[in-house]
Symmetry: C2
Subunit: 431 residues, 2 copies
């Protein structure tokens, strides 16, 4: 078998066999197939596509390119939840304790933020002491003993995917559905997932800007899950405006904790309950969504979810007192409330613009490895569909620098659109 | 400007500007743009195509990636002739002396054979002493003083093309018309050509197997020539069967010399006169093809073309006595005449199979740098359309090894098809 013949086959729109895909991924991982062949292959896939069978073979080959975590001796069903990324998405911090409290052990490896969308690890690190660098053994031990883990990728999961992603980024081959889907699913499978809930975002602040694109990606990932023998459910959720109110690391963690205290904005609360219910169903802890939802609600009402969060934070070295008293979180030097400039209905809070403004404040990284400021960010006080009176609070800016505060004010104000006519609220979920 | 944005633009089927193409070619040549970006770019061009404007910009950028020869102080019009390669194509060795004898100075840089198709340099080296490694200064001096040069590429013409070709070969991006056309034309322009005659081969022994593909390539190269301000003519000639009778280095050189002595097979003679006439017209030595053809015929009849060949061989250190007495050429140890197995009409002499059999005898290289055997090869005695009687000579094998001779006999026999019904001869030129 020769790499060039596999490239030519895809170039000529023929379907590749599992053997051919495995040969290519293995060769690329161990360096026998050079980057210049992999990038030509990626471009051929980008332009000619892949069938769900090929995409599944690619996913499995990438998953097997490194260590594959086996959690079968620790949990009945290893469940995972993945969000395609967005602005204000702190869902995992609330949902994982909820489902763990309902008796479904969950161990999740999260990522850091890059670009305008945040990452769960950065948010959790706003709790002093919280470790996100558990070893594989620590991961397994904690999952077994505490039933909950939320950490970074300690081992080299799906190394072919990491190598491929770096190459795609500089060769114009990022927006290919088969490559996106196999990248996401290969990491989930390598992390040992047997059941997966995918939260695919769509809208102005999502990678998939249209519902059709998001649905296509979601369908493809569900196909891969089915063909690879993983119970997989995909939700399509809105990312035209930020999720909940908080954008920024500490602010989002506070909101996620508030949710478990019974507080937090209604949209975020509803989003979490919906996701948690799906996780409980694929994890076979509930027979249907109604039962699952009741269980999730009960875990908040009876404090068991909050208790699970305490267990999680303590197990990973974090200061548990922050969970009970969110006023302990580091606050930004300047907090400014920006008021509605006129009467009307909010018709847009451009998620991507808010995300970018938050990065500019210091909440995110311009490039990998940059330090971040946990305290800065925004609270979005009015959402699409809300009525605003001139002078009413519209959003809060949390900043540590006056010049940046002024820039952020202008940017987030122009991310808002207010219209005279009634505007219906955005749906939380499309499907 | 960033390389990745140029790749993305081509990926999305947008037309690139001259500046973008120049930026990419310059960066690729000096190593700032890595191979993995160039191969993704090549695949995007391969699958999405290029307009004639883009292809011309690519051609000029590659031509300018190294030294560009300026022959304007030496000749009125620098003419060049290019063949897309085939089996038995020794045309340059006959045509260059003919046009030089007609008063049109010609300096040509040729290539070596690779794969099943031969190269002019290898053929010329069957004349003892003949040098194909003239320096640029020697090239210019000889062109000025003798009016004829036929050598290898001494300088690094169009280095971007060389680098790109090596990459295309291993990334499945060889059969792209814009990339093929720009590769050929960039070298001609870098070699200083102001007027170009392209002999595009089509058929079983050509890169372009169908007439449509060959015509498309020819049209594109003529477009590039026009847009780049070079007078360009393209001929479409047959390469289903070998050209002339001889296949193999010394055998072909002998046939080319015979042609200037007034001999050689009719098809090869006609091919040379046609090509020479077009070179004389684009070189403005004749007002039309009729006049040009008469001049070319006269150059043979009066011995002036043969004299020009003597001048060429002497100037480049070759033994001139070989031109006057072709029996001096090294002969193979074994010469076997293979006879027609039955009565009928020749319907096929598969050019590629004959070319491959000739390489197997030692006349060509399996890979770059392999030594070659000048004496071995074939004389194809019956061509498509000829009537063969059982037992009549069909072809001759010239070999230096008995085992290889037997293999060659089987291969070339099976390259022949003989039918009972009348078969018309193949045309020499399609357009």
């Amino acid at each position: 078998m020769r790499a060039v013949d596999i490239i030519i086959k895809k170039r000529d729109k023929q379907e590749l066999t599992a053997q051919e895909i495995e040969f290519f991924v293995r060769g690329f991982t161990n360096g026998e197939i050079p980057d210049y062949q992999a990038s030509a292959f990626a471009m051929a896939i980008m332009l000619n596509g892949m069938t769900p069978f090929e995409t599944t073979d690619l996913t499995l080959a990438m998953a097997k390119s490194g260590q594959v975590l086996d959690l079968s001796k620790i949990v009945d069903i290893a469940v995972d939840k993945h969000s395609s990324g967005g602005v204000g998405d702190k869902t995992s911090i609330s949902v994982m304790p909820m489902v763990a409290a309902c008796g479904l052990p969950v161990g999740k490896m999260s990522g850091r933020g890059l670009g305008f969308s945040g990452g769960t690890l950065d948010k959790l690190e706003s709790i002093p002491g919280y470790r996100v660098d558990l070893s594989t053994d620590e991961f397994k031990k904690q999952l077994k003993e505490k039933g909950i883990v939320l950490t970074g990728q300690s081992m080299d999961l799906a190394p072919a995917d990491g190598k491929m992603y770096a190459l795609r980024d500089v060769t114009g081959t990022v927006p290919s559905l088969p490559l996106i889907a196999s990248s996401i699913m290969s990491k989930k499978i390598a992390a040992g997932a047997q059941a997966i809930v995918l939260d695919v975002k769509t809208g102005l602040g999502a990678f998939m800007q249209t519902l059709d694109e998001a649905r296509e990606l979601a369908d493809l990932m569900v196909d891969i899950g089915r063909l690879a023998g993983r119970r997989t459910v995909a939700l399509l959720s809105d990312m035209n405006q930020p999720l909940g109110a908080a954008v920024g690391n500490a602010l989002e963690t506070i909101e996620a904790i508030d949710m478990l205290h019974g507080g937090s904005p209604a949209d975020f609360r509803e989003h979490c309950l919906h996701v948690a219910a799906h996780v409980l169903v694929v994890g076979q802890r509930a027979k249907d969504l109604n039962e699952a939802r009741s269980m999730a609600e009960k875990s908040i009402a009876d404090g068991s979810a909050l208790e699970k969060l305490r267990v999680l934070v303590a197990a990973q070295g974090g200061d548990v007192s922050y969970v009970d008293d969110v006023s302990k979180f580091e606050r930004a030097k300047y907090v400014e409330v920006v008021h509605a400039p006129r009467n009307g209905f909010i018709s847009q809070v451009h998620a991507r613009s808010v995300g970018e403004a938050s990065v500019a404040l210091g909440a995110g990284r311009a490039k990998k490895g940059d330090p971040i400021d946990y305290a800065v960010g925004f609270l979005i006080l009015k959402k699409v569909g809300d009525k605003a009176q001139e002078g009413e609070p519209l959003f809060e800016i949390h900043a540590n620098d006056r010049a940046k505060l002024a820039e952020a004010r202008a940017a987030v104000l122009s991310a808002h659109q207010i219209r005279d006519e009634f505007v219906p609220p955005l749906p939380l979920f499309y499907e």
